[in-house]
C-alpha cells in the first residue's frame, strides 16, 4: 500500500496542474501549471522503474549483490526534464514578450486573436 503513495502524488500533481490550466487567469500561473503536470508525469515514470530496497543502477562503489532499480525510466525522465527546461524557458520568454506588448498577463485581455 505504501508503495502506491507516489502514484497518489502523481495524480494530485497532475490534477493541480490541470486545474491551474483551466481556471487560473495568469500567463505565469499557466506556465507553473504546465510544470506541475510535467513533474507529475516525470514522477510517474520514475516510480515505474522503482524496486523496493534497490540502489541506483551505477556500478561505481555500489554495494555488491544489491538489487538495482530500472535505469531506462530514469533516462526517459532525464530527457523529458531537458525538454521541460526548454519548454519552460520558451513559455516564460514569450510571456515576457506578451507583457511587453499588451501590458498585462491576464488571459482575458491577451486575446486579440479570436473568432
Amino acid at each position: 500500500m505504501i508503495g502506491n503513495l507516489p502514484y497518489v502524488v502523481v495524480v494530485i500533481s497532475i490534477g493541480l496542474g490541470i486545474y491551474t490550466l483551466m481556471f487560473k487567469r495568469n500567463l505565469i500561473k499557466i506556465a507553473i501549471g504546465i510544470c506541475l503536470i510535467e513533474n507529475g508525469v516525470n514522477l510517474f515514470l520514475i516510480t515505474l522503474g522503482y524496486r523496493k530496497g534497490a540502489v541506483a543502477p551505477i556500478y561505481t562503489y555500489a554495494p555488491s549483490g544489491q538489487a538495482m532499480v530500472l535505469p531506462t525510466p530514469q533516462a526517459l525522465t532525464l530527457t523529458s526534464i531537458v525538454i521541460g527546461i526548454a519548454t519552460t524557458a520558451l513559455i516564460l520568454s514569450i510571456a515576457m514578450m506578451i507583457y511587453k506588448h499588451y501590458g498585462t498577463l491576464d488571459t482575458d485581455q491577451v486575446r486579440r486573436l479570436k473568432g
Binding site: 490541470i18 490550466l21 481556471f23 487560473k24 488571459t107 486575446r111 479570436k114 473568432g115
Partner: protein, 113 residues
C-alpha cells in the same frame, strides 16, 4: 496513359474529362458564334442595367470582403453567433476543451469495451 483511377464504383480520368470539356466547349463556342440577330454593338444593349441609377465610378464599385455573403451569414445568425462566441481566444478555454474531450474519449473507449 489515360490516367484511369478506379474509385470502387467507377473511374475517374482527368485526360478524358479535359477532352470532353474541349469538345463541349468547342460546341458551345460554335453555337455562340452563330450569333443573335437582335444584338447590336455600341448601343444601349452594352450598358449594365441598374434600374436607371447612375453608374458608379470604377474605384468605388469594388465590394470589400465583409460585404460578400452578407445574406448568408445574416440568415444563419442562429448558427454563427454561438459558434463565434465559442472561439473566445482565451487560453484557459483552449486547454479546457482538450481536457474535456480527452475525458469524453476516455469514457467512450472505456465503456465500449
Amino acid at each position: 496513359m489515360l490516367g484511369l483511377l478506379e474509385t470502387g464504383s467507377g473511374f475517374w480520368s482527368a485526360i478524358i474529362w479535359i477532352l470532353l470539356v474541349l469538345v463541349i466547349g468547342n460546341l458551345v463556342i460554335y453555337i455562340r458564334n452563330k450569333g443573335e440577330d437582335s444584338y447590336k454593338k455600341n448601343t444601349e444593349q452594352d450598358k449594365p442595367f441598374i434600374s436607371g441609377n447612375p453608374e458608379e465610378s470604377k474605384e468605388s464599385s469594388h465590394l470589400s470582403a465583409s460585404h460578400i455573403y452578407w445574406g448568408f451569414t445574416e440568415a444563419l445568425k442562429g448558427y454563427y453567433n454561438p459558434l463565434v462566441k465559442m472561439h473566445t481566444g482565451n487560453i484557459n478555454d483552449y486547454s479546457s476543451w482538450i481536457i474535456v474531450i480527452t475525458a469524453i474519449i476516455l469514457i467512450m473507449v472505456g465503456v465500449s469495451g
